[in-house]
């Protein structure tokens, strides 16, 4: 669904992403791993059009999206989560989520001033989407709590819910389980599987190998901005270049 051709991004003299070509496969969990500073986050930033690539193209469903704005690709169906999600602490979780579906609505100022039926309908849809998303991530019980009062792990899930309420086709998850303990990591992994079952493609950056190995359908390995390997978890686990650059010897058997 997402095709990346010879993608390069330079910061000054440093090539954070260097001539990477790959595809993100529809309906699968695509993982990206690599040493620190390999360019994974930058890679995501390029896909979601936060940064403009120095060269190369990105094609989403056959459409060249390389020079679009972030909000435009989001409307095409690319959603992402952030490592830390800023919520408006003084309103409720549900209120925070309603805006998530805004990109699928069309009401403008005129609808607002007229109080048009389209606006009312769309507001209802947004609210429904928000509830659905909360349900989906298993947080309906905190819908009416103030966003400032929920726990870190709940915040992570709210971030998922926000991304889900945009009706995405591809979700980019940057270290979703960073700082999450194994039990809850398992919960998040289950959530990710559920997302994929619902027909949403996932691209995932993570350093937790257990999680990656059990979750990913396909792994892309970056090192110093370059693609050094790509394949199934089994292949990656045994790839000497990856062991050398990233996993270290003992992970090969874990």
């Amino acid at each position: 669904m997402l095709k990346i051709d010879h993608l390069t991004k330079r910061f000054g003299g440093l090539a954070a992403v260097n001539d990477v070509s790959t595809v993100i496969e529809e309906g699968r969990i695509n993982a990206i791993i690599g040493p620190n500073g390999a360019g994974k986050t930058t890679f995501f930033n390029l896909i979601s059009c936060v940064h403009k690539p120095t060269s190369g193209t990105i094609t989403f469903d056959g459409r060249d999206v390389t020079s679009l704005r972030t909000d435009q690709v989001a409307r095409l169906g690319v959603a992402r989560t952030f490592q830390t999600t800023t919520l408006f602490d003084r309103s409720t979780v549900l209120d925070n989520l309603i805006v998530g579906h805004r990109l699928r609505t069309h009401s403008g100022l005129w609808d607002v001033l007229r109080g048009s039926s389209r606006l009312r309908e769309e507001e209802r849809v947004c609210r429904e989407k928000a509830r659905e998303a909360l349900d989906f991530v298993g947080l309906s019980r905190v819908a009416h709590r103030l966003a400032g009062d929920i726990t870190q792990e709940e915040r992570k899930r709210v971030a998922f819910a926000l991304a889900l309420s945009t009706d995405p086709r591809l979700m980019l998850l940057d270290e979703p389980a960073g700082g999450v303990n194994p039990e809850e990591t398992e919960g998040l992994a289950e959530l990710i599987r559920k997302i994929v079952r619902h027909g949403i493609t996932v691209a995932l950056i993570e350093h937790k190998m257990n999680m990656i190995m059990s979750l990913a359908d396909k792994i892309l390995v970056l090192s110093y901005g370059e693609k050094i390997a790509e394949g199934t978890p089994e292949e990656i686990r045994r790839n000497p270049a990856v062991i050398d650059a990233y996993l270290g010897s003992e992970h090969a058997e874990v």
């Binding site: 620190n36 986050t41 270290e175 700082g179 194994p182 039990e183 350093h207 990233y246 270290g248």
Partner: protein, 235 residues
């Protein structure tokens, strides 16, 4: 000895730490396990004087830390590598590290040597030493944070999830480093999600849940405990 006695902490009306008591003997490496939001970081920030305990006392070699200024606590040798790194993003990596030795500013000789050790340990930092710390990748920044704490030449090192965001290979090296630091005589209190690796180098461990200590024991005992294995180590 670093000793927590009935330490409580409140955020507004929320009780984040509820009469926590624990200790780390001189030269000991103690691990603190706990789910997200259990209160590990809160405990560390209280020890460093960033938050003020609502009750109880924290002593280091008999000296009361509750009520002391953060700077005085660092001066006394209790240094933290905080969660979220808290670097100086626009300063160069080198300057960040040098400021880690702020409390030793009157005696710069040994600091230069520690700096060398840190750069040895994380070679990528030597490469990037003149870049602003904020431009580094997440994991590289974590290395700077650990290095900065080491620069304080701590007698007690509080490490709050140091492996966060690090590649497996680097994590492995890092645990080796922690062990080495500890073996050189530094008391280490380590909060970790990566329970398996942490317990392998620990002398003793505590389990924190919802602001309370629910379990204490030797690494072997905890590793053998099924419920602990399930919660903190994974299947």
């Amino acid at each position: 000895m670093l000793k927590f006695d009935d330490v409580s902490l409140k955020y507004g009306s929320f009780l984040a730490l509820d009469r926590v008591s624990l200790h780390a003997g001189k030269g000991e490496l103690v691990v603190l396990l706990g789910a997200n939001g259990a209160g590990k970081s809160s405990l560390f920030l209280t020890a460093s004087g960033i938050h003020r305990a609502a009750g109880g006392s924290i002593t280091w070699e008999g000296r009361e830390l509750v009520g002391s200024k953060p700077s005085a606590i660092v001066q006394a040798g209790v240094v933290q590598c905080p969660e979220g790194r808290k670097l100086f993003p626009q300063m160069s990596v080198r300057k960040n590290l040098e400021l880690g030795a702020y409390v030793h500013r009157r005696d710069p000789g040994p600091s230069r040597q520690t700096l060398e050790e840190v750069l040895e340990l994380f070679p990528i930092l030597r490469e990037k030493q003149h870049d602003p710390a904020g431009s580094l990748s997440g994991g590289q920044q974590q290395m700077v944070a650990i290095g900065r704490a080491m620069m304080g030449r701590p007698r007690v090192l509080l490490l709050d999830e140091p492996s966060l965001g690090l590649a497996p290979l680097v994590i492995k090296q890092m645990f080796e480093v922690i062990q080495r630091i500890n073996q050189a005589g530094t008391t280490v209190l380590l909060a970790e999600q990566n329970a398996y690796a942490a317990l392998r180098i620990a002398h003793r461990a505590y389990v924190l849940e919802s602001g309370r200590i629910v379990r204490e024991g030797l690494p072997g005992e905890l590793l053998a405990d099924d419920s602990i294995r399930r919660a903190y180590i994974g299947a």
